[in-house]
Amino acid sequence: MEILNEDMGMVAESASGLLAKSHPITTFRALRDSGSTLGYDKAILGEMAEMGWMGIVLPEEVEGADFGFRAAGLIAEEMGKNLTAGPFISTAVLSATLLRHAGGEALAQWGPRIAGGEAVIALALEEGAKHRPKSIATTASKGADGFTLNGRKSFVVDGVEADRLIVVAKDGDSLVLALVDPQIAGVSVTSQVMLDHRNAAVVSLDDVKVPLESVIAEGESAEEALNAALQAGRAVAAAEQLGVAKAAAEQTFEYLRTRKQFGVLIGMFQTLQHRAADLYCELEQTSSLVAEALVALDQGREDADALTRAAKAKAARVGRQATEEGVQMHGGIGMTDEMDLGLFMKRDRALAEFLGDAGHHTEWLLRHRGL
């Protein structure tokens, strides 16, 4: 474990600077109030590409920055703090990692477009209310000149107006990853606005015919690519959730330092002091765990799978603690739409569910440890 080196320090600093300036919480609030169903402003794609963020985990051959997952996590953490909406995890982390592992023509063709902010690619994985990546009912039947896809995908984050979907399907026992143009026959994409005011589409696939080359990985290599993408997605989502938790906590600590009640600053009350300090300690160790998970990914370590799951589970717990304590310590005002706390709480809840909740990953860890 190392603390931030110079390069990473710069990534964090520039992310913090840019987002606080160009995409602070007020921007997100305006987006929401505009009634956007997309859930983000398309202009952000260009900005993020310019910063090198969209290609942050892509190799230089496809115009990526190849800065790695720790860097991606630092960016996501700042996005969490600022509630910045944009197809970063969906496209620049999940899909980019998956394409990088799948390699071949798909990477060559779509890598540069992702890195350049020209394409949004969403992962069409989930099929139920809970994250269950092992239970895929969507089918991909191989024919002479292509595959036929059938199934229904729910909660496809950034799936509305995506340029491509990566559909996770099964051909018998074999996993299939197909890159699908949502415009073709048989694909229907329905918008769903989630409680965090982002979008997670429902995608129906009815006898969707795709050519053989649309399948970017099959069997073991598909398992491996999906697994790599999910590890990355989990760790980076944990980093975003950590950012949300830190910002909610910081607003709360500041409120404790300045709000008077019963004639004194409420930060004088020992109960609140101790609960705030406990929250601070939890944020600290979660920070370290998230960093460790991201570094393990960058180093290709064997314990990365376990660490990314622990990080996701822990971030969910501390995110809940931070937002719940935030509302309770603010009192009634914390429940109003005027304050940012509610927005943090909602984003936190969505992130807790996204790519598997704390229970899901803890269950995996228990199994992994032979329990």
């Binding site: 809970k130 409680l195 309770q328 009634g332 109003t336 739409d337 569910e353 269950e363």
Partner: protein, 393 residues
């Protein structure tokens, strides 16, 4: 046949005849009958059901008959409640008048006030709201600043209230006002009643994180309140308020409270998550959380039942109301959190095809206020540590 058995038979027959089938369906938040000048009945059945009950005094069965109540004894009230529950009859009327102002008037009001205001409440003619909290006085209610200047035949009320539930829909307000500026915090407060259509009253809804606006900011600009519209003595407002807060806490804490309408957590979880091959909920970590919750829920239910028995035996609840408030609200936060957890992403859809999209998420967000409204959990714990445990300071 005992009198009580006979009462049960009569009640059953009356309910059978008078309770329309529509009023025996499970009700949503939109189906509540609040009454009041501006209220629009959602169906003829709702109106009919209110009127039938009002006629008999059964919107407020425990109140004396002379004030529009049913004049029922304790055992009779229990029978009525049981018979209503048996046919799933909806409450004919719910209101802050019934829950809050009525009990205050019965305890502290003049005979004239009781005869004037209570029947209006019982018949659902006037809808009341409660003017307690102020922007600078949340948990520290006694530091409120709204002034009521004595102008001889009236008080001139100027100031601002916050968290006034449904102030925009209410007809009248019962309001804490500082009438004795030279007295100490607690002793300078009076309890006034006035019409929300009085000149100088305005309201502004507060948008909550759930998107709903059940509360308002309420502004008073030199509102004239006739002197006879004070309840109790001048400066007695804090005593009345404390009485009502205790009352409110019992209500909020009690598991029958509307806030805590038990969602069917267990079947929701099974439906959303399914069972594994050994017949257990297919999410071991959530299942464990549910297990701990179910035990605590059984403990709380037993405690509510025990507390009722304690009160039926003629005891006063006093500071122990804080105990129910604390336990009940913290439990409900866990319940709602488990509910959205079990529902997974389905319960996080805010706007979608289905009609009740976002309801679980909104209920969950709403529940976060449980441990703030009516006195925060922190205030409850402080009350208990001082009043019951006799901690110093």
């Amino acid at each position: 046949m005992t009198d009580l058995e006979q009462f049960r038979e009569e009640t059953r027959a009356w309910l059978e005849k008078n309770c329309p089938p529509e009023m025996r369906e499970p009700m949503g938040e939109d189906d509540i009958c609040w009454g009041g000048r501006k209220f629009e009945f959602s169906s003829p059945a709702q109106k009919q059901w209110l009127q039938a009950n009002a006629e008999r005094g059964w919107t407020v069965p425990a109140w004396p008959k002379e004030y529009g109540g049913g004049g029922l004894s304790g055992p009779e009230q229990k029978v009525l409640a049981e018979e209503m529950r048996r046919i799933n009859a909806r409450p004919p009327l719910q209101s802050f008048g019934i829950w809050m102002l009525g009990p205050a008037l019965l305890q502290f009001g003049s005979e004239e006030q009781k005869r004037h205001y209570l029947p209006q409440i019982a018949r659902g003619e006037i809808r009341w709201c409660q003017g307690y909290s102020e922007p600078g006085a949340g948990s520290d209610l006694a530091s409120l600043q709204t002034k009521g200047e004595d102008k001889g035949d009236h008080f001139e009320v100027t100031g601002q209230k916050i968290w006034t539930s449904y102030a925009d829909k209410a007809d009248w307000i019962f309001c804490l006002v500082r009438t004795e500026p030279d007295e100490k915090k607690h002793t300078g407060i009076s309890f006034l009643l006035f019409d929300m259509e009085s000149e100088g009253v305005s309201t502004k809804p507060i948008k909550l994180i759930s998107g709903a606006s059940p509360f308002c900011e309420t502004f008073f600009d030199a509102v004239k309140v006739p002197s006879e519209q004070i309840v109790g003595e001048r400066g007695q407002g804090w005593t009345i308020a404390k009485y009502l807060l205790t009352h409110e806490r019992e209500m909020i804490g009690g598991s029958d409270s509307a806030i805590f309408a038990k969602s069917d957590l267990v079947s929701d979880a099974v439906e959303a998550i399914g069972l594994d091959e050994s017949g257990r909920l297919d999410d071991p970590m959530m299942r464990a959380e549910l297990g701990a919750f179910l035990v605590d829920e059984m403990a709380f239910d037993a405690h509510v039942a025990m507390t009722r028995a304690y009160m039926r035996a003629g005891n006063e609840l006093g500071a122990r109301s804080a105990e129910l408030k604390y336990l009940g609200t913290e439990l409900n936060k866990r319940r709602q959190s488990l509910r959205v957890g079990a529902g997974g992403a389905n319960d996080l859809v805010w706007e979608g095809a289905s009609n009740d999209a976002g309801q679980a998420a909104k209920d969950w967000l709403r529940s976060k206020a449980n441990s703030i409204e009516g006195g925060t959990s922190e205030v409850m714990l402080s009350i208990l540590s001082k009043a019951i445990l006799k901690m110093p300071g």
